[in-house]
Amino acid sequence: MSGEYMEEAARPQNQTSVFVKRKRTFTLASLGVMAVFAISSAVTHYDVIGGFESVPAAIIWIAKNLVPDGRALSRLPNILRKLTETALVSVAVTVCAGICAFFFSLPGTRTTKTKPQIARAVRVVAALFRNVPDVVWAMLLLFSFGQNILTGFFALFFATFGMLTRTFIETIDEVCDACVEALYATGATYLQTVFQGIVPCSMPEIVSWVLYMIETNIRNSTLIGVLTATGIGAMFDLYYKRMDYGSASMVVISIVILVIAIEIISNQIRKVIM
């Protein structure tokens, strides 16, 4: 430490070079972003000016068309039934995936001292589930399950499972390291250490992540629904393609209210448990 300090004091020009370096990084980064922008627009035939013009036009269109009307109101009970179903699917998927991910993540943690080969295998499997897009799972399941609620369920399940496994491994390694060591030292078994040490100390984080994934899964299940013609996503798609924009807007509004409600409830719960 002191050596470094001396060197810098002896050569004041070092300090200016820090600024020059920062400026250079900034210039390089800006140039890089501009290059990416130019190439990306060219590749996708993105019309920059048209793009900017489209936004106000779209907003005017939305304000004119996406307004719930009388017909939409009569469809509200149906919409709410589908919405409840979507919410329940999201909760069920996330809870099931969370439980599986918790037990699957245990051998992947440093803390529990499993063999490094097993830990690595767990991480690879988790990465696979996380990185295979949920649309691939959806299409694979569509072959056998058809347009069934379980298609969306399992598609979301695999993606959530991969995501939560990685998160739980990091959380457990971060929060439970010390108490696991102590419990092992008392002669506790693996099972005892898990339920008396890891579960109580990681529970708040785990609940918080599960709540976050429930919210995310409601949005994702809309997308999967559009693709697999199930759930609330399909309902929106149907009304939209029939140009029944009033009813479609009712679907959007109901989703928004649900997501915001879940976000507010989750934040309240987090405030108490963390």
């Binding site: 010390a178 108490c179 060591e181 102590a182 419990l183 092992y184 030292a185 008392t186 002669g187 506790a188 078994t189 099972l191 005892q192 898990v194 339920f195 008396q196 040490g197 109580p200 100390c201 529970m203 708040p204």
Partner: protein, 256 residues
Amino acid sequence: MAILEFRSVSKTYDKMTHALTDVSFSVDEGEFVSIIGPSGSGKSTILRCINRLVDATRGEIFFDGHDINRAGKKEIRQVRKKIGMIFQHYNLVDRLSVIENVLHGRLGHKSAILGAAGYYSEREKENAFRILSKLGLTEQAYKRCDELSGGQKQRVGIARSLMQEPRLILCDEPIASLDPSSSKVIMDHLSGINKNMRITCIFNLHQVDVAVKYSKRIIGITSGRVVYDGAPGQLTKSKIHEIYQSNEGELITDVG
């Protein structure tokens, strides 16, 4: 009679770093031994080799008739049951109550299922309260551990290890995160336990003066080797500087 014996124990991490080289010593039942040395010298590796939180690479360790390095899973559990451990950062389950943390000391004595479910007998619970009262923590029994001060947390750590009815207590820097007055309380409790209950105590200590004051024997470790093993009275200034590989005047702690 020796309760613990190290016979030329070595430990290397990742085949590169030598944490311990040829460490040999033995500890008699009822002794109060302090291990001192600079950070990274291998002190905490020594303690963790005793209860196999770390596997020694070479050599033999005997504890109470067990050959630690050759012990299977079941035997290690038997060994750990008899050895309490106290940590610098207390290593409690912060979100559980004090009494639950104390009862964790019984896990090694219970069946896997009962322990995992957190089921303890009334007698174990009464016993936990008795130990808490000795450490002056009865009023905190139902508090969550994250509500306690550092000194109180460390007393919970001591209570947990006493719940094990141990033959030996390993103390890994027990007072390194505490203020001087709590440190004294903790050291007095531990030395009382050593004297009154005849439980052998092995300490890792940073503070040379504390080690000299409380222990009957000091082991000095420098880069994984034992360089001093004897009474605190014979620990001269130059010996301390040899252990810490420092020059005159560089150490804050100076023994008078």
